[in-house]
């Protein structure tokens, strides 16, 4: 009899613990912790950790499970499947277009909201439970090409990394070409390109007067070096942000004459967040702050949306996130719009004599 009562008590307590644990909001984070995207994933973890600590300090219950996408679609899919089917997460954050694209179908099937961070908007059209953070490739390429056209350059080359966002970037460039009567020519390259010499030679042959460059840090390192070697010094406007392309490493390790006049852009981050991150991580650099702020905001928005919609549908969570205007994000933005995109506000700068000088760009 005593054993029977003890068993009943044990089962009752176990059930209580289960209920208490199930109140904790579980979020999965598929981050590029290795591969070429590690420059983003590693600092982003710090932002996520800060968000988790702050939520818990305010009495919130949150668990974030981090998996490594290895900056690839295949490993992201494995990670996403594990998070959804084994860890039973209620929401996911994901980085870069290819890994996010592989998680998106699982998000749709399982009706789990996902906030992803990439240039491409393609996933939004396929997944009603997806929200996007980051710059807009079509808009930034449009702005870059328009700026160069207004400076009088009539033949503009688009040196474009062949990824999900490249058609969107080309749309932006073509739109400017139509409005400003300029010629735009494209020179695509793949993610594993290590040699731009023939592309540069083609641009010289085509009399390209200025370039919109879309690529990441490793591509930029080679491009700026080889264009200096080949004497192809024309203005460059990076269609991808400073954090991705015109990084501190590119600035410090590329030939200075090749960098002169390059225009890039970055995201403004609220001072409060910067101070908090600097207090925890004094060694953190500006590009890392951008990644950290992105991770922080993604977790905060998803947690807040899931909290408001506990037990309800993914549609409820998406709607809650889009209408959340009370949360002051670490990234200086106005929150998510009706298009499910958190539009970032770029601040432009140009490289001149060893410094980045603020630049007004319409």
């Amino acid at each position: 009899m005593k054993q029977f009562i003890a068993l009943i008590a044990f089962l009752f307590l176990s059930a209580c613990v289960q209920v208490e644990q199930s109140e904790s909001i579980k979020i999965g984070a598929v981050l590029p912790l290795s591969g070429w995207g590690a420059y983003w994933g590693s600092p982003e973890q710090k932002g996520i950790a800060l968000a988790v600590d702050e939520i818990r300090a305010q009495g919130g219950k949150i668990e974030v499970i981090i998996e490594d996408s290895k900056t690839g679609a295949k490993d992201a899919a494995t990670a996403g499947s594990k998070l959804i089917n084994i860890d039973k997460v209620q929401g996911i954050i994901s980085e870069f277009a290819a890994p996010s694209s592989s998680i998106s179908p699982m998000s749709v099937e399982s009706r789990i909201p996902v906030i992803y961070d990439a240039l491409s908007k393609k996933i939004l059209s396929e997944n009603p439970y997806a929200l996007k953070v980051y710059f807009d490739s079509e808009k930034e390429c449009y702005v870059a090409t328009k700026y160069l056209a207004q400076k009088g350059y009539k033949v503009i080359g688009g040196v474009i990394l062949n990824l999900d966002f490249s058609p969107e970037c080309k749309r932006g460039m073509d739109k400017t070409a139509g409005e400003n009567e300029i010629a735009v020519k494209y020179y695509d390259f793949d993610a594993d390109t290590t040699d731009f010499k023939t592309i540069i030679t083609k641009m010289q042959n085509d009399k390209i007067e200025s370039v919109v460059f879309i690529g990441y840090e490793d591509h930029a390192l080679i491009f700026f070096k080889q264009r200096s070697d080949l004497g192809f010094i024309v203005p460059v406007f990076t269609g991808t942000s400073k954090a991705d392309t015109f990084t501190d490493k590119v600035i410090s390790e590329s030939p200075k004459e090749s960098l002169e006049g390059t225009i890039t852009y970055d995201q403004k981050i609220r001072e409060g967040f910067v101070q908090k991150m600097n207090a925890r991580h004094p060694e953190i650099t500006d590009p890392d702050l951008f990644a950290a702020a992105t991770g922080y905001d993604e977790i905060m928005y998803l947690y807040r949306g899931l909290s408001k919609c506990s037990g309800k549908s993914a549609e409820c969570v998406v709607s809650a996130i889009m209408s959340d205007k009370d949360y002051q994000s670490a990234l200086e933005t106005e929150g998510f719009g009706a298009d499910r995109v958190m539009h970032l506000i770029p601040s432009y700068s140009t490289y001149s004599k060893g410094e980045l000088i603020p630049l007004e760009v319409e």
Binding site: S34, G35, W36, A38, Y39, N162, Y186, Y187, D188, F189, D190, D192, T193, T194, D195, K197, T198, I199, T201, K202, Q204, N205, E217, D218, L221, I222, D229, L230, G231, K249, E253
Partner: protein
Amino acid sequence: MAIATQLILNGIIAGAIYALVASGFSLIYSVTKFMHFAHGAVLALGAYLMYSFAVILGLNFWLAILLTLVCSGFAGVVMDQLVYKQLRKRKASGAVLLIASIALMTLITSLILAFWGADVKTVPTVNPVFDFLGARITLTQIIIVVVSVVLLLGLWLLMKKTKLGKAMRAVADNKDVAMTVGINPERIYTYTFIIGSFLAGVAGILIGIEQNLYPQMGLSLVIKGFTGAVIGSLASVPGAVLGSFILGLVENIGIWWLPSGYKDAIAFVLLFIFLLFRPSGLLGVKVREV
């Protein structure tokens, strides 16, 4: 600028890079009769060691090169002694050795990633640019082209004119007969891996200076080196070098008209054409079955 000259020069430089890889790969294949894909890993290791010695530790540039070459040769010996020799003792087939080499390639790439990190590295050097018939070429690129040709000549002399080279050719032709005349095949394999891995180290140093360092660099380069070797002749170092230069030229001329994303496709189309119609390669000897 003379565009055509620049285009050809770009192709020659690319071909020279592939030739640096292909020469060591082909040497090892010709003697051991299996495809040592981990040759790419030794190349990558060489590049990263050069980076560590010259940039992280700040050693004298020439000392860094010397240490890198010694370590690369040693890495090849370690691979042979710890992995391939053990498999040879068990009479493993060429396919098994190939699988082992791919496993080694993966292991070493993972170790490079774990130890040095995923971010791209560069080896800063002073690299003057020269005009050549209206085109531009850097000092590093000139050195790459010259070294690939010198290595070819050096290997040819080694194989034709030295006792070691004759022994290597004997083992390559028939290991059992070579043993009967007193040649120790295992010792020859060791020397082959030392020389082949030394060549991988040279390639790693030069490619690391010319391009970026990233953990997967060895895999993509060994595939190109392999393709060049197939085109020229897998079992012939001069053939492998010739095939590599052809590959470099065809790729760069090809992407003049096609989007540059087709570069790898061009390489593999060329590979398939040779595998289908001339599997022995340009300088390979067709063996008729009687």
